[in-house]
Symmetry: C2
């Protein structure tokens, strides 16, 4: 059959900035960015959307933003600061997405103007999706306020909302134009949300970087004590490993391989089963524990390294398993979750396991009996591992 | 401010096939494509969505598709052939977009499966958008059935629906995985729809390829007589010029420059003012006439070349102007349309004009008085130009 061949590459570039006090008047970071980032000679507008819990926790945030842009004028601030609930609800209830389209339309945000979102990963996912599809893409700035969004979800290229009761059913691969990680936001996080994000650092260290894993082992106490310099290093190294991974083989995930989803197949199911009562990072910590012990039981990972992983997870303060992860028969929810993950990938199952700390290996099947044994071990012998 | 730099490129590739009788059992084209295009070891599903007018006009189309995939089994056909209205309404009324999400969900179309759309540019735009955002992108095959969609809209990288009463308010830049141009569909087009698509060929010849313009001048009679070989050449050459343009500087239109929108600023407004009674190509033909005469009056294009352009447009059978394009004062709709186009681009106006046939030039302002004069000329002296 006759044909014309189309072929082109599109380059995507953005910076992930690290700062402290983004809207202090003396901090010219975001204004400098807006000044330098110009694709048109026209006046650029900037519309802020803020997570309600962040606004409550951060005194005078809206006023600070307004004062900042009164002095720094690289972009014209839309005076209304749009408020949205934080947490999964902003992705579940479609009215928030509709509201985002409304304000983008109302304030005539165009393809050379900005929608800046301040909040956790949930809010960033929803606002990023609305920005990506309005006018086929208005510019999106992410200002993540949780550990998880600063070290993982906020620095990547994905956005989404839930639909048909399915997590992330709608979404796109569209990078932000910039990410600003401001450590000051972390001060007001609950201990649970603070801890939750550390799971992604453990995950990425296990599949990519043994040295980082050892650093995590050495710095557990400081992390638990919420020492800021330690957390800043964790976030930066974790974000860097994520960025490098994305820039690698398959940024828009055209294949079935999802190395960064290590520990995630069971975590997704657990979040859903508990109606998001178990946080993403908490579920990921249990998922890592499960797949680590499975790696050992299936003859891939040594028992000594397995114990180190479980020990780190526990020392950080995570649970290592959950009743819903138990395999009691063929219809156990967790086995159904495995089946759903297979469907999500498009038929061929691809699961990351561990060969060594820092070295992952992909497999295309998992044995139900071994998953059961791994769960039993986590409720049995590993429940007692020293957390000294 | 400290930062990490992210930078990567994503390669996009697809073929635009030319065929006759895509679902004849002996035609292995689409099956060969599905066989070769594999990103997973799993079974691939294919869901067809068909323009109702195309289905009515093409006897046994649904049966043919079913018989084809009963024998050619590179993908598993979803037995339901989804029907959607053709024309702008499928982009205006959101229920059609919702229905697309429903069927993608219902039939568990995943990122390694296909949504194939058969229809005009309107249907392809809507289905392409639904495919692009479901699971962050399921594979989309376009089977355009109008001249316009085979030579222009269907071969490109954009998709969209209308929203807030605004054309293409929601959409993405996501290329199809393949396009199949089947000349047999063109046989059932109305003369108006057939002619309408020729406007895009005139447009692209004027800004890119004087030789193609001369070919159009020589082949006007054959085009008007709907000679198939002549139309096949027109579509292929026009599609090729479009593909080359997209593969050039700015595939996802990050800048303000839109050379392929020559003649389109007034056309968009005219379509809207007439509630899409004036077809896209008909409006583009008038828009080309206006910007061509403007190019002459502003001292860019010779009078001889201007006459050749107007003459070709008339010989093809297009009107060269419309009462709504008349400038009678500052608030004339067409001047408001110019303002809206400026906003759509993000503040800085960028309009393509002609320096010569085959050579465009971008300008950043247009003079209202000259627009008025150009319109007067189209209603006056050019109304009488020979169409011999
Ligand atoms: N796009 C991706 O690649 C990707 C990757 C991983 C996870 N995610 C998504 O991210 C979401 C989870 O994000 P998250 O863990 O950041 O949680 P979250 O956004 O759900 O926020 C958790 C809670 O903390 C509050 N909060 C946020 N920042 C705060 C602050 N500085 N002070 C006080 N309270 C604050 C929020 O309002 C919310 O109530 C999930 O929907 C998950 O699917 C996306
Ligand atoms: N995505 C892009 O880059 C791009 C570019 C240009 C135009 N467009 C869009 O394309 C749309 C116009 O597309 P179009 O000109 O193909 O018209 P259309 O899709 O609106 O179809 C016109 C009419 O012809 C019918 N029809 C289609 N094929 C037929 C056939 N083979 N036989 C009989 N009837 C048939 C349709 O049902 C409809 O009633 C507009 O919405 C325009 O905005 C998109
Ligand atoms: Zn995660
Ligand atoms: Zn057009």
């Amino acid at each position: 059959m006759e044909y014309l061949q189309q072929s082109f590459s599109v380059k995507f570039e953005y910076k992930v900035f690290f700062t402290s006090g983004l809207f202090e008047l003396a901090n010219t970071g975001i204004n400098d960015f807006l000044q330098a980032d110009s694709t048109s000679a026209s006046v650029k507008k900037i519309l802020f959307v803020v997570d309600e819990d962040v606004l409550k926790a951060t005194p005078h945030l809206a006023d600070k933003i307004r004062s900042y842009f009164a002095i720094h004028t690289a972009a014209q601030l839309i005076p209304e600061i749009v408020l949205m609930p934080g947490g999964e609800t902003v992705k579940i209830d479609e009215s928030h997405f509709s509201k985002m389209l409304d304000v983008i339309h109302q304030y005539a945000i165009d393809r050379h103007s900005y929608v800046a979102a301040i909040g956790g990963g949930s809010l960033l996912d929803m606002v990023g999706y609305a920005a990506a599809v309005s006018h086929r893409g208005v510019k999106h700035i992410r200002i993540p306020t949780t550990v998880l969004s600063q070290n993982d979800s906020g620095v990547g290229v994905k956005n989404s909302i839930n639909y048909f009761g399915k997590k992330n059913f709608l979404g796109t691969f569209v990078p932000p134009v910039a990410v600003f990680n401001d450590d000051q936001f972390l001060l007001t996080l609950s201990d649970r949300d603070y801890r939750s994000g550390i799971a992604e650092a453990i995950k990425v260290s296990l599949i990519k970087d043994a040295t980082f894993f050892e650093w995590l082992e050495r710095n557990t106490d400081a992390l638990v004590a919420r020492d800021m310099d330690t957390m800043k290093y964790l976030i930066k190294r974790c974000a860097e490993l994520h960025l490098n991974h994305i820039a690698g083989l398959d940024p828009f995930e055209k294949g079935s391989s999802r190395p960064l989803d290590f520990g995630h197949w069971s975590a997704h199911k657990l979040e859903q089963l508990t109606n998001f009562k178990v946080l993403h990072g908490e579920a990921v910590a249990m998922g890592i524990a499960l797949d680590t012990v499975y790696s050992n039981l299936s003859g891939r990972l040594t028992i000594a390294e397995t114990r180190r992983v479980i020990n780190l997870i526990k020392k950080i303060g995570f649970e290592i398993t959950h009743p819903f992860l138990e395999v009691s028969g063929k219809d156990s929810p967790i086995l159904i979750g495995l089946q759903e993950f297979r469907e999500h990938l498009g038929g061929e199952l691809t699961i990351m396991l561990l060969e060594q700390i820092g070295v992952g290996v992909e497999v295309h099947e998992m044995d139900a009996q071994l998953i059961k044994q791994a769960g039993d071990a986590l409720r049995g012998e590993y429940a007692g591992v020293s957390v000294g």
